[in-house]
Amino acid sequence: MGISVQTEIQPGTGREGPSAQPPARNTGGQVLNALSIPVLALFSALVISAFFILASDPVVLAAYGKFLLSPGHALAVSWKEVADAYTALFLGAIGNPAAMAGAIRTYLATGQTNGLIQAFYPLSESLVSATPYIFAGLAVALGFKCGLFNIGAEGQIYIGALTAAFVGYTFTGLPWIIHAPLTLLAAALGGAVWAGIPGYLKARTGAHEVINTMMMNYVAFNLADFLLNGPMKRGGSTGFIPISRDIQASAYLPKFFPDPIRLHAGFLVALAVAVGVYLFLWRTTLGFELRTVGANLRAAKYAGISVTRNFILAMALSGALAAMAGAGEVMGVNHNIAQGFSPGYGYDSIALALMGGSNPLGVVLAALLFGALRNGATDMQALAGIPIDIVSIVQAFVIMFVAAPAIIRWIYRLKAGGGFQAIFTRGWGG
C-alpha cells in the first residue's frame, strides 16, 4: 500500500509546488475530479469528528461498557447521538426543507411573508457567516498563490474592524455614497499596512511569515483590547465586554430584507471582490508575476521578477482582503466592534483556502460551506450540547486530507492526477 502512494506524487514537484505551466482548460471530468477531493475530505472529516463526539459522551461510553451484553443498544445510542448532532447542524445551517416549501406555498397563496422569513432565516444567517469567510479565504488563498502562508488573517480582521469602526463613527455628515466606500477602503488600507510589515520582513530579512503573522495576531488582539477599553470605548458602557461606539448610519452596508434577516450588501461586495481577485491573478501582469514567484522562486528571479516587491504586494493585498472581512462585520452586521467579535474567521479561513484549492471560485464555494458549518454549529451547541469547537476539529482533518490528497485517493481508491494540486509553502530560508 506504500507503493500506491509513492507513485502518485510525481518526482521533481517536491519544493516547487504547483507547476508553472499555464493550466489547460478544464474538461468536465477534471472539474469533477478536482471537486471529489475536497468533498471527500469534508465527508471523512465529519466521520472522524463523529468519533470525537461519541468518545467524549459519558452516556455513550457507558453503553459501550456493556457492549458485549447489548451491542445493539451501544450502536443505537451512538447513532442517535451523531444523528441528533448532525441533524441540528443541518437544520441550523440550511433550515427545514419542508417548512421552506410550506412557507413558499403560503406566500404564493396569501402573500404572507412572516413564514417565509422564519423558514429562510437559517439559510440567510449562513450567508451572513459566509461573507467574512469569502474575504478571509481569498486573503489566505492569495498568499498561497505567492507561496506565502498568511496565518495572521485573524489579527488583520481585527485591524480592519478597528479601522472601519473608527472611520465609521468619526466622520459625520458625509453622504452614504462617500462614507461607506471610504470606510471600507480605510479598513483595507489598514489591513494592507498591517500585513505588509511581515511581508516586508520576509522579503528583506527572510523572517518567516508564519511566525511573524502569528505574533502580530497577539499584538493586534492586545491593541484591540487597549483601544476598546480606552480611546474607542463607548461612553457610559458598563457591559462586561469592551465595545466601541456605534458607527454612523451613513457607513452602514444596506440590508436587503426586513428584520430579523441580517443579510447585507457585504455579501455582494465579497462576490465582486472574488471576481476581482480572479481577474487580478489571471488577467494582469502583476498577478502573473505574483503567481510565478509562488510557483517557482528561482525561475521568477531569473526572469527578472522582483521577489521582494511581490512578497510585499501579496501580503499587503492579503491583509487588505482579510481586513475587509472585519469591516464587513462592523458595517453590515454589528455596527460597532466588540472584543472577541470574530469567532475565529481568520483561523478557519486557512482550512477554507486549502479546501478551495486557492482559487477564487473554490474559495467562494468553500466559504458558503464554512458559513453554513459555523452557523449550524451554533445550533448544534444550543440543541445537541456539542461544543462549537468541533468545527475546528473538522477543519484540521479537512486541511490534512486536502493538503495530502494521496490519503483520500488511497482511502477511496481514486485514480491519481486530476485538477487538484497540493499546497506547498517555503522553509525558513527562502
Binding site: 506524487i9 511573524n212 475546528s392 490519503i407 497540493a422
Partner: protein, 425 residues
Amino acid sequence: MAVMARAREGLAPISRRYALSVFYALVGLFMAVVFSRNTRPGEIARLGLNTSRSIELVRMPDIIVPVLPVVWILSATVLILSLYHLLRGFRRTGWLLGVVSLSFLVSFLVWTARGTSFSLIGILSASLQLATPILLGALSGVLCERSAVINIAIEGMMLGAAFASVIVANATGSLLLGLVAGLAVGALLAAWHAVMSIRFRMDQIVSGTAINIFATGLTNFLNQRVLQVYQQLNVQQTFPSFSQLAPELGKIPILGPLLFDQSPIVWAALLLLVIVQIALFRTRWGLRTRAVGEHPRAADTVGINVFRTRYVNVILGGVIAGLGGTYFTLGSVGRFDKTMTNGRGFIALAAMIFGNWTPTGAFASSLIFGFADALQVKLQILIGQVNIPYDFLLMLPYLVTMVALTGVVGRVIPPAADGQAYQKQ
C-alpha cells in the same frame, strides 16, 4: 562584486548592516531619553535578593543601583556598539542582538524600580520558570529540524500535553501518570506529524498548522464538554519542588529560590539541554542526525536510514514538547485553562532560530524571552510607575520575538535540507 567579497569575509550585506545599526542606535537613544525621564539625579533602585523563606537563614544585602548612571552606561554601550557595527561591522551579530536586548530590559527594569525596592531574585526565578517551556519547545524544534523536519506544531503538542496531563493526573491520582500521559500525547501528535511529512510528503508547515488547529479545537471541545461538567478532573496540583520536600534547601540564599524552589520539570529541562547538546555534537547518533538534516541523499548512500532517523527525531521532539506542555499544568499553573500556551510554541521556534539550531543557543535566547515575559508579569504590579498601558506590556514578548527573528534570520543557517521531504531513489 563588493557584496560577494563581503559575503566571503562573513559580513552581512551592507544595507542590512546599516539598517540594523540604525535600529540599535535608535534603541540606545530611546533608552537614554525615556529611561532618564521622571528620574531625579541620585535616585536609586533597590534590588532585593531575599525571599521570605531564604531570609530565615541569612539576610543578603540589597543591591543598590543608581538609576541614572546605569541607564546612561547601558545606553552608551548600545550606542557605541551600534556605531562600531555601522563603521566596521561585527562578524557574529547574534550576541550583539543579545547584548542590546538585555541592556534594554535591564535599564527598563532599573527605571521602573526607581525609588522603590524590587525583588531581583523574584524576577530571575520567574525568568527561569517562564523560559522553561520555551526552552523545551526549542529543544524539540532543534531535534526535529536537525533531521530536516520543520515542526511548527510545537504549540499544539504543548497544548495537548498540558490538557492530557492534568486530566490523567486527576483521574488516576498520580502526578507521574499525568506526566506520562503528557509525554505520550506529545509523542502521538509528533508521530502524526511525522507520518504526514515523511510518508505522505505533505508540506510540513501545512501539516503543523493542521495539528495546531486540531489541538486547539480538541482541547477547547473537551474542556467545555468534559472539564466543565466533571470539574474534579481539573483540580489544581503540581509536582513538589525540592525545597518543599526538604525545606532547608529553600533557605539557601540565592540558590534556594533560584533553583530549589523550582519544579522538577525545570531541572529536567536543564538536564535535557545538556543531554541534547552532547548527543547532537558528540555521539554517533548526533552525527547521523545532522547528516540526514544536511544532505539526506549522502547519508542514505553511506547506509544511514533517513526515514527511521527522522521518525525517531520527530517523535523524541514530540516527547520533549510534551514535557514542555506538562510544565504549563503540572509544573506551574496546576490546572488547565483554555488555550493556555498562548503562542509559547511559536516563541520557542523563534528561540530555536535565534539560537542557530543549537541547544545552548536556544537556551540563551529562551532566557531572554523568559526575562521579557517575567518583566511583563512583574510590571503589572508597578503599573502606575511605568505609565504604559497594560496591553502594551502584554505585547512585549511577541514584539521581542519578531525583532529577534528579523535581526538574526539570514545570518543563522538552518540545516540544509530543512523542510524538504526525502524520496528514496
